[in-house]
C-alpha cells in the first residue's frame, strides 16, 4: 500500500476540513440552523476493515437505541486527476433525523420516509462535491462526478456496490456533523485502486511543493 507521510496526511485532513466546512455552510442554509462539520481523522483501510469499522461504529450507536443495522449511503463516481468512488454514509435512523431537519416537523413520518431518498441524495451531493471540489481546486485539477446514487443496506453491501474488489483501498473520513440539538457521526469513504492512490499522493506532493514555494 502507498504510505503517506505525516505532512501529506496533514494536507489531506486540512483539505477535507475545508471541504466539509463549505458543505456545513450550505447545509446550514437548508436546515436553518448553525451546522458544524469537521473531519477529525482519515484512515486508510482494506474494504473488509472498512466494513468492520462501520459495523462496530453502528453497533455502538445502535445498541443504545435498539435500531436496525442498516446504513444509508450516497455514492458518486469521480474521474479526472484521479478516479474514485465516493460514498457518504450515515446510520439509517440518523438519515431520517437529518431529513426531518430539512423538511420540518409538520411532515408525517410516512411521507418523510418517501422523501428520504431524495433528501439524502441532495445532502450527499453537497457534502461529496464540497470535499471533491476542494480537492480539485487545491490540486488545480478537474474532477468530474456522476449523479448521486442512494442505497440502504449493510456496510458490506454499501461498500461493495461500487464494483471491483481487487486491490482497492478505502480512504475513510470520519465526519462529525453537529447541529444545535443533534450530534451525528457519519463517514465518507473514497474507494481508490492502486493507480488512483498513487495519483492522489502525487497530487498532494505537487500541492505541497507549491505550498513550500517551489513553484
Amino acid at each position: 500500500m502507498v504510505e503517506l507521510s505525516e505532512l501529506e496526511h496533514d494536507a489531506l485532513v486540512e483539505i477535507f476540513n475545508i471541504g466539509v466546512g463549505q458543505a456545513a455552510a450550505a447545509m446550514s442554509g437548508i436546515v436553518g440552523e448553525e451546522v458544524t462539520m469537521s473531519v477529525p481523522s482519515i484512515t486508510f483501510l482494506s474494504r473488509i476493515e472498512a466494513a468492520q469499522l462501520l459495523e462496530d461504529a453502528h453497533r455502538r450507536s445502535g445498541s443504545m437505541q435498539g435500531t436496525g443495522e442498516r446504513i444509508c449511503g450516497v455514492s458518486q463516481h469521480y474521474e479526472g486527476a484521479f478516479q474514485t468512488e465516493a460514498i457518504l454514509m450515515f446510520p439509517e435512523d440518523k438519515s431520517l433525523e437529518i431529513v426531518r431537519l430539512m423538511v420540518g416537523e409538520s411532515v408525517p413520518l410516512a411521507e418523510l420516509s418517501e422523501m428520504e431518498q431524495e433528501a439524502m441524495s441532495e445532502i450527499g451531493n453537497i457534502i461529496l462535491n464540497s470535499c471533491v471540489g476542494t480537492l480539485a481546486n487545491i490540486f488545480q485539477q478537474e474532477l468530474h462526478g456522476s449523479l448521486p446514487v442512494y442505497q440502504v443496506g449493510s456496510s458490506d453491501e454499501i461498500l461493495d456496490a461500487t464494483g471491483s474488489r481487487a486491490e482497492t483501498v478505502v480512504m475513510m473520513l470520519h465526519i462529525d456533523f453537529i447541529l444545535e440539538k443533534h450530534q451525528i457521526h457519519g463517514y465518507v469513504a473514497f474507494i481508490l485502486d492502486v493507480t488512483a492512490l498513487h495519483d492522489l499522493k502525487e497530487q498532494i506532493d505537487r500541492y505541497l511543493a507549491r505550498a513550500m514555494g517551489q513553484h
Binding site: L7, D10, A11, V13, E14, I15, N17, I18, G19, V20, G21, Q22, A24, A25, S28, E34, V35, T36, M37, S38, T134, N137, I138, L208, A211, M212, G213
Partner: protein
C-alpha cells in the same frame, strides 16, 4: 517603525506553511510566528505583540472564535481575522460582533494579500 509581526494560529501544519509562504513572498522581512492552538496563541501574544493575528476556527481545545474573543481583549489595537471554510451567517455575525475580520479558506495569495493590506500602510 519595526517590521510587522504576524501570528498564524492553525492546527494544520500545512495550512500554517501555506499562509507563511504567501506572507513572506510579499514581505520577506516580516516576522511570522506560528501557533497550533488558541491556548498557545494566547499564551504567546502578550510578549509577541503581533500586529496581525490569523485564526483558524476548527481547532482542538478552545477553538478559533473563543481564542479571537480573548485575543481582542489582549491586543486591542491588533488586526485579528478568522480564517475558515465555514462561511455561515452565524459565524460571520459572531466575528462582526467581536470586531474581528473574516476570511474564507482555502488560503490563496489573493486572500492573504487582502488580510495583510492594513499592515502595508
Amino acid at each position: 517603525m519595526p517590521n510587522p509581526i504576524v501570528l498564524i494560529v492553525d492546527d494544520s501544519r500545512v495550512s500554517r506553511l501555506v499562509t507563511r509562504q504567501h506572507i513572506l513572498a510579499r514581505h520577506a522581512d516580516w516576522t511570522v510566528v506560528e501557533a497550533g492552538t488558541g491556548e498557545e496563541a494566547l499564551a504567546r501574544a502578550p510578549e509577541l505583540q503581533p500586529q496581525l493575528v490569523l485564526l483558524d476556527v476548527n481547532m482542538p481545545g478552545m477553538g478559533g472564535v473563543a481564542a479571537a474573543e480573548q485575543m481582542r481583549r489582549l491586543l486591542p489595537a491588533a488586526h485579528i481575522s478568522l480564517l475558515t471554510a465555514n462561511v455561515q451567517e452565524a459565524t460571520r455575525k459572531r466575528a462582526q460582533d467581536l470586531g474581528i475580520g473574516f476570511m474564507e479558506k482555502p488560503i490563496t495569495e489573493e486572500r492573504i494579500a487582502r488580510l495583510i493590506a492594513p499592515l502595508e500602510g
